[in-house]
């Protein structure tokens, strides 16, 4: 029966392996789940879920699977509460429900409800639903003791309550991140190579040389391994990006940390890249994009960050920039394509949640740059793409935009 729970978990992308499932079975055979749902909740999580980011998915799966055991009882509760307040309504219950109720002592039930109600207030307020399931527990569903309802007894809370609270939501991987998490994600962006001064003892070579010298020690040094990745970071600032400014500053903090990349440069733009980008967020130090392209190595990694949301004309019309002085002949789209064509690997991270992407200018830009949402998962995938290449995610259908703008120049 539990095997469905395994598939419930796997369906929610919790990678439980046979190995771990067998361990769980072994543990249950040893009685480590303490014959309770709470015990099982903890045991299964500790054996099958190895990442805090997946705890929330586990909670969801647990709820989904074990709720199935409760639902009928859950429905009964509402009626039951009413009935407790107004015993005359007893007749309104179905024969089946009445039969269930006859199986228990009314006084005791009332007492339990009151107690439960009290505990609810103390533990977490507004627990409407917990009064609900709590009230049903005397029915004996869900494998608990039919008479004694273990309502938060013994200091622990019931597994369902814990799962329902979903405390681990903030650890999910598809949410936006803090500096440290970005830091960790960016660690993937590296290609080690030996360069620079001879600082490290090369033991193998030393032994080799020494042997060739017939035992006279000759010491060989070599340069230490360093990250050779060079990064250009271009960030959209102002306007629609204002809500994301905190996240952007975290990304910048993590990316610009010294010694991370062999070379790191950052530029700012507003809305879309036209002929000029800026070295500062106040747009005081302009840099011609053409110059930038001429002076940068094609092996440098281009990382674009922005919401890619704008009026279609700003992207597709030549001279579409909202700034008069920037109205050059090429469209923003053309400039982006030049950037993408110059650099061998480039990625665009978008702080806008990806469910809002389709049907906007994001579709067009995502056809130029591989685009990932600026979340832990998105960042990890984008970094992998930057290092190893691969398939770019497809967003919507950009061709309809082309028609709308009368063809892309």
């Amino acid at each position: 029966m539990l095997i469905d729970f395994l598939y419930e978990l796997r369906q929610r992308k919790v990678p439980v392996s046979t190995h771990e499932w067998m361990a769980l079975m072994e543990a249950m055979a040893l009685g480590l789940h303490e014959s309770s749902l709470d015990g099982f909740y903890r045991l299964a999580r500790t054996l099958c879920v190895k990442d805090i980011a997946l705890y929330d998915a586990y909670d969801e799966a647990f709820l989904a699977y074990f709720k199935d055991i409760y639902p009928q009882a859950l429905q009964l509760t509402e009626q039951l509460l009413e009935w407790l307040n107004d015993p005359k309504a007893f007749d309104a219950l179905t024969a089946e429900q009445r039969k269930l109720l006859e199986g228990m002592d009314l006084e005791k039930l009332r007492e339990m409800f009151a107690q439960r109600l009290k505990e609810q207030k103390e533990r977490h307020d507004g627990g409407n639903r917990w009064i609900g399931t709590g009230g049903t527990s005397p029915f004996g569903t869900g494998g608990k003791n039919p008479n004694g309802m273990r309502v938060g007894g013994g200091g622990g809370r019931s597994a369902m309550a814990v799962a329902d609270e979903r405390r681990f939501r903030e650890y999910r991987r598809d949410v936006v991140l803090d500096v440290r998490q970005i830091d960790v994600a960016l660690r993937g962006l590296r290609k080690l190579g030996r360069e620079g001064a001879l600082e490290e003892l090369d033991l193998d070579e030393t032994i080799d040389k020494t042997c060739k010298n017939a035992g006279d020690i000759e010491i060989v040094f070599r340069p230490p391994r360093r990250n050779r990745v060079k990064v250009i970071l271009m960030m959209d600032v102002g306007g629609s990006m204002d809500p994301h400014s905190e996240l952007m500053s975290r990304l910048f903090t993590a990316a610009s940390r010294s010694g991370r990349f062999a070379k790191f440069r950052s530029y700012y733009f507003h809305n879309c890249v036209y002929n000029t980008v800026y070295e500062d967020a106040e747009f005081r130090k302009p840099v011609q994009v053409a110059d930038l392209l001429a002076t940068s190595d094609r092996d440098e990694k281009l990382v674009m960050v922005g919401d890619a949301l704008m009026h279609p004309a700003e992207l597709l019309d030549p001279g579409g920039s909202m700034y008069l002085y920037a109205q050059a002949r090429a469209s923003g789209h053309e400039w982006l394509r030049r950037l993408a064509a110059h650099f061998r690997s480039a990625a665009w991270f978008n702080p806008e949640p990806d469910r809002f992407w389709p049907g906007t200018t994001i579709e067009v830009i995502a056809s130029v740059f591989g685009m990932w949402p600026l979340t832990l998962d998105g960042l990890a995938q984008g970094v992998r793409y930057l290092v190893r290449g691969g398939q770019r995610p497809q967003v919507g259908d950009p061709s309809k935009w082309v028609k709308m703008a009368g063809g892309i120049r």
């Binding site: 392996s17 190995h19 480590l32 500790t46 054996l47 190895k50």
Partner: protein, 275 residues
């Protein structure tokens, strides 16, 4: 079963949550390594010390560094010492390689005639492949010293506690073999208990005030490093030593430096206090 199962109940100086105790006991019962993760300062390393203490077993520590190799944990063949002895050593028999084999922490744990607790601290500090290199040894609990051909197998499977700070992703194959527990930041009640263990003479009122300030500070948005348990304990010690009554202090938190460790955070709190 129950006698063998509920072995770990925390110790007088270490308060463990129900979930943590359960995870430890599952790991002990299944004889699998326990992987513990959590925010810095939540007592991951202390867990191993206290587990050893409460079970009355010796503790062997292995502090992993960025340069640590898996093999170093098993044994090191000290070639340089042997070379030195062969050239300059007096009356040393350099033909006996075994003399130059030094067991590492994992090797020691496996060679021990009695059961031990092995702590592999901060496994994520080392190279990405490090955990993979340990798979076989942790599974079979035995290894071979290639130079001498000697095989060392554990008489009794050691209890292995592994800590990680989430700095790197650990390989799946490694994770599959572990029992996993994430130490959550203690809630207020548990924190009160923990503080009382370290400062038994603290009055409820002082404790309440201190926790109020502490959790208020943790809830402050944009902090770079949130203060943790060990910092709270230190801070209360500082308050006690200086005889500061928190309820009478107005404007700013005394000894903020014990709680906040980065300049930006202290500055941020300064700005907030003024506002």
């Amino acid at each position: 079963m129950s006698e063998a199962f509920d072995q770990f109940q925390g110790t007088a100086s270490y308060i463990a949550s129900e979930e943590l105790k359960h995870a430890v006991n599952v790991a002990v019962a299944l004889a699998r390594p326990l992987l513990v993760r959590g925010e810095p300062g939540t007592g991951k390393t202390l867990l191993a010390e206290n587990l050893a203490l409460s079970l009355g077993l010796p503790l062997i520590r292995w502090h992993v560094k960025s340069t640590t190799k898996a093999r170093d944990g098993l044994y090191v063949y000290d070639t340089v010492a042997r070379l030195h002895d062969s050239r300059f050593g007096d009356e040393v028999d350099v033909r006996d390689i075994a003399k130059y084999i030094k067991l590492g922490p994992l090797g020691e744990a496996l060679a021990s005639p009695t059961r031990v607790v092995l702590l592999i601290d901060e496994i994520d500090k080392a190279d990405l492949e490090f955990p993979n290199d340990l798979l076989h040894e942790l599974d079979a609990m035995k290894f071979r010293i290639d130079e001498t051909g000697k095989e060392i197998a554990a008489a009794e499977r050691p209890i292995v506690i592994i800590t990680s700070n989430n700095e790197k992703e650990l390989p799946d194959a490694f994770l599959r073999r572990c029992v996993f527990h994430y130490i959550q930041f203690p809630n207020r009640e548990l924190m009160a208990e923990i503080v009382k263990v370290h400062h038994p003479d603290i009055t409820d009122k002082v404790l309440d005030n201190a926790l109020e300030v502490f959790f208020g500070l943790r809830a402050t948005p944009k902090l770079r490093k949130k203060p943790s348990t060990s910092e709270l304990v230190d801070w209360i010690l500082a308050l006690k030593k200086a005889n500061v009554d928190l309820s009478r202090v107005s404007g700013g938190i005394p000894f903020l430096g014990t709680l906040l460790k980065t300049e930006q955070d202290v500055e941020l709190m300064g700005k907030r206090a003024k506002a």
